[in-house]
Amino acid sequence: MADIRMRVNGSIEKLDVEPRVSLLDALREHLGLTGTKKGCDQGACGACTVLVDGERISSCLALAVQYADRDITTIEGVSDPLQESFVRHDGLQCGYCTPGQICSALGMLAEHAAGMASAVTEHVADEEIELTAEEIRERMSGNLCRCGSYNGIVAAIQESAGSAR
């Protein structure tokens, strides 16, 4: 067992976990933060996306011990106009992929703001990349939505990206 601490949604949490426990299971089963979802447990669906020091990762493939002393934000710690945009644009149906989509979108917007390119960026050396619908779709492709709310999700992100951010 390993005694670790991590900052989760702003508060320091003490955890006593085996090294094999994933960050996802630590959040869901140890801390009761069930907003972060498990869809595949192998990095293929994005439902478990959380932000670590502001960067999006798949928490199912992260061992909790590897993230000791880091700053984790889960959906429970997110309070962003993007969430209202998701509701208004109906970027959700069953709701199960939604927390992952929202955390991923927040991480993605930060990546874009930092000037990172994507697989559909025509010139990867460009400094400023317009966040078109095509760019959003590519950058969000790590988050599956089987209900097919993709249009609403993209619209919500566009609205959020277009506002004061």
């Binding site: 990095g43 011990v65 990867v124």
Partner: protein
């Protein structure tokens, strides 16, 4: 997942000493190893977290090349200014792989060592010589649509799934390895092994070695480069075939050509035959086609993956043409 001892290495000497413990494994970003551990394909007794090692820098070398620390995350590498301008094929290849989340986690060293996506390798109920030597290969007589067309053997037809490595192969990258025995430098081309009769041996790395860095040579032609990935859906899927290409053309004649293929072999496939045809040839559609044909003559199809031969030819031609017509991806 089997329970294991966990330790974090903060410096390279500690890491390479720790790995000499029997049953120990290095853990980078976890995007491949943790998945394999959960599926019981990897069952280490000791896991050494190496993400705290001071190997997270990208530095310019005196000779004009670049040294990339093995713990640099894939997304950081793709976002680096020098990569985007001098080696756009590498930025593109990385961005074509996995998802934003996984690229933020995965390390450069881990990407090189990631293991095949052959579905029979992933299912413990199936026979797989790579997982269990001598057990047989269920892919050869089964679903092999995404299996290798180059360098496969009667024991294994798996492919290497990395996009990044395809670009690194085209760029003649060097892998730096460190162990208690010292430092070794190996070309990435040839680092991954063809299966032969021991498909369990996947790379030239020794069990006690750590990848510490990847070095890119100074290569002016790399500034004019592109990566093209063909897959079963628009994103977040492994390649059926991918092409990394860099060329230099002077007065209509190809003076430098670097070409590598992904999704076709147990290693990122450096297309030497195609390069030979291209070098000195006019930069025309005909040359591109001849180059593609020349490379694919050695391809051997299985029951379901024959289409990759034609697909690879077309992807090579299309990529070279795009590079010629539209220029660099930078």
């Amino acid at each position: 997942m089997k329970d294991f001892a966990y330790l974090t290495a903060h410096d390279v000497p500690t890491a390479v000493r720790a790995i000499t413990t029997p049953g120990a494994k290095f853990l980078g970003g976890g995007t491949n190893l943790v998945d394999l551990m959960r599926q019981n394909i990897e069952r280490p007794d000791t896991v050494i977290d190496i993400t705290q090692l001071p190997l997270d820098q990208i530095e310019e070398l005196p000779d004009g090349g670049l040294r990339i620390g093995a713990m640099v995350r894939n997304s950081r590498l793709a976002a680096h200014r020098l990569i985007r301008t001098r080696y756009p094929v590498l930025a593109q290849a990385i961005l074509a792989g996995a998802s934003g989340q996984l690229r933020n986690m995965a390390t450069v060293g881990g990407n090189v060592l990631q293991r095949t996506r052959c579905p029979y390798f992933a299912d413990l109920a199936a026979r797989c010589n790579k997982r269990e030597q001598g057990s047989g290969c269920d892919a050869i007589g089964g679903f092999n649509r995404n299996a290798a067309i180059f360098g496969a053997s009667e024991h294994c037809v798996a492919t290497h799934p990395s996009d990044m490595c395809v670009a690194l192969a085209a760029l003649d990258a060097i892998i730096e390895l460190e162990s208690v025995r010292g430092t070794r430098r190996l070309p990435l081309v040839g680092f991954h092994m063809l299966p032969g009769d021991s498909p369990q041996h996947e790379t030239a790395i020794a069990p006690d070695e750590l990848i510490t860095a990847i070095e890119l040579p100074d290569l002016p032609a790399a500034a004019r480069s592109r990566y093209r990935k063909v897959r079963d859906r628009s994103s977040y899927a492994f390649a059926l075939v991918s092409v990394a290409a860099a060329t230099e053309v002077r007065n209509g004649v190809i003076t430098e050509a670097r070409l590598a293929l992904g999704g076709v072999a147990a290693r990122p496939w450096r297309a030497h035959e195609a390069e030979r045809v291209l070098l000195g040839a006019p930069a025309t559609e005909d040359s591109f086609l001849r180059a593609a044909e020349a490379e694919l003559t050695a391809a051997v199809p299985l029951s379901q993956n024959g289409f990759k031969i034609e697909l690879a030819k077309r992807a090579i031609t299309a990529t070279l043409r795009q590079l010629h017509v539209e220029g660099s991806a930078a």
